[in-house]
């Protein structure tokens, strides 16, 4: 299978609804420092259910887009703006080897709670994870995601970490 496109909605630095894609067999994400490239990787990790401990924010609600030039300036913004931005979601449009599309969506609200949907139907995390594992997307192992700054540590990781990784994928 493969990722066809991503749809981001108020996720991190991506204001509003944005469609990103199509992705090919070998796609590169480019752009200047601070543009939002790693945020895109955070979006992929987020929608696949990666534990927020691994992501750059400990707090899931940090993933909701925040505009405005000052910290906690949202009282100053109009209430309607606040309403539209108190939740965020990411959707992966994924194509199975057979050709069928599956939509995986995860949202987060301003209380940091997540909801999972497969093809627009709300499901529990266990069902969501099972559907991903069926595609060989093993979130616990996370071996298919290499975050910025991590690659050199792969080579010098302690023997026990390497063992753990291999256990997770077996």
């Amino acid at each position: 299978g493969r990722i066809i496109r991503l749809e981001l909605d108020n996720f991190k630095s991506y204001k509003g609804h944005q469609v990103i894609g199509p992705f090919h067999n070998f796609s590169c994400v480019i752009g200047p420092n601070g543009a939002g490239k790693s945020n895109l990787m955070d979006a992929i990790s987020f929608v696949l259910g990666v534990n927020s401990m691994q992501l750059r924010s400990q707090n899931l609600k940090d993933f909701i887009y925040r505009g405005g030039a000052m910290h906690d300036d949202q009282e100053a913004e109009g209430l309607s703006q606040r309403e539209t931005r108190r939740k965020a979601h990411v959707k992966i449009v994924y194509q199975e080897d057979g050709g069928r599309e599956i939509h995986f969506l995860r949202s987060v609200n301003s209380r940091g709670q997540s909801e999972y949907k497969i093809n627009d139907k709300v499901v529990l995390w266990t069902a969501y994870n099972a559907a991903l594992e069926k595609e060989n997307i093993l979130i616990r192992a996370r071996n298919f995601l290499v975050f910025q700054g991590d690659v050199e540590h792969v080579a010098s990781q302690s023997p026990k970490d390497l063992t753990l990784l291999i256990e997770h994928i077996s």
Binding site: G1, R2, I3, S13, Y14, K15, G16, Q18, V19, I20, G21, P22, F23, H24, N25, F26, S27, C28, V29, I30, G31, P32, G34, A35, G36, K37, S38, N39, L40, M41, I44, Y65, G67, G68, E135, N136, I137, L138, N143, F144, L145, V146, F147, Q148, G149, D150, V151, E152, V154, A155, S156, S158, P159, K160, L162, T163, I166, E167, I169, S170
Partner: protein, 163 residues
Amino acid sequence: RYNLFMDAYNHISEKIDQVYKDLTKSANHPLGGTAYLSLEDNEEPYLEGIRYHAMPPMKRFRDMEQLSGGEKTMAALALLFAIHSYHPSPFFVLDEVDAALDNANVSKIATYIREHSNDKFQFIVISLKSMLYQKAESLVGIYRDQEINSSRVLTLSLDQYED
């Protein structure tokens, strides 16, 4: 548990040297370097450590800590690609893994990805280096739109420019 683990371990163990050689061969060193895994405990291996050893071409045996920044990155990528070949996930997302690489090594990584990406194995690679992204099939360009204080996206397919 032992069987599952050894199944994965043996598969990766057999793959790692070939992958590392693919990444380290060059005109000067047509054979490439050497890499292998070793088990610290053979009875219950999943309780103990697995050691990874990588030796760049013409360099003497040395522990991983003595390798240079770029040599470590190449060794790490070889290990990641070898691990990935066991029950492969459908896609691989890499964020600036080429930061420590010189042009020659960036080019080897780009070629390896180009040769190994296909309908069943997709690569999404974030990179600042044109030596790498010029080999991609499509580019997802991210820029910051200051007026609306947001990231924005422009996609470009490179294949239409292929020779």
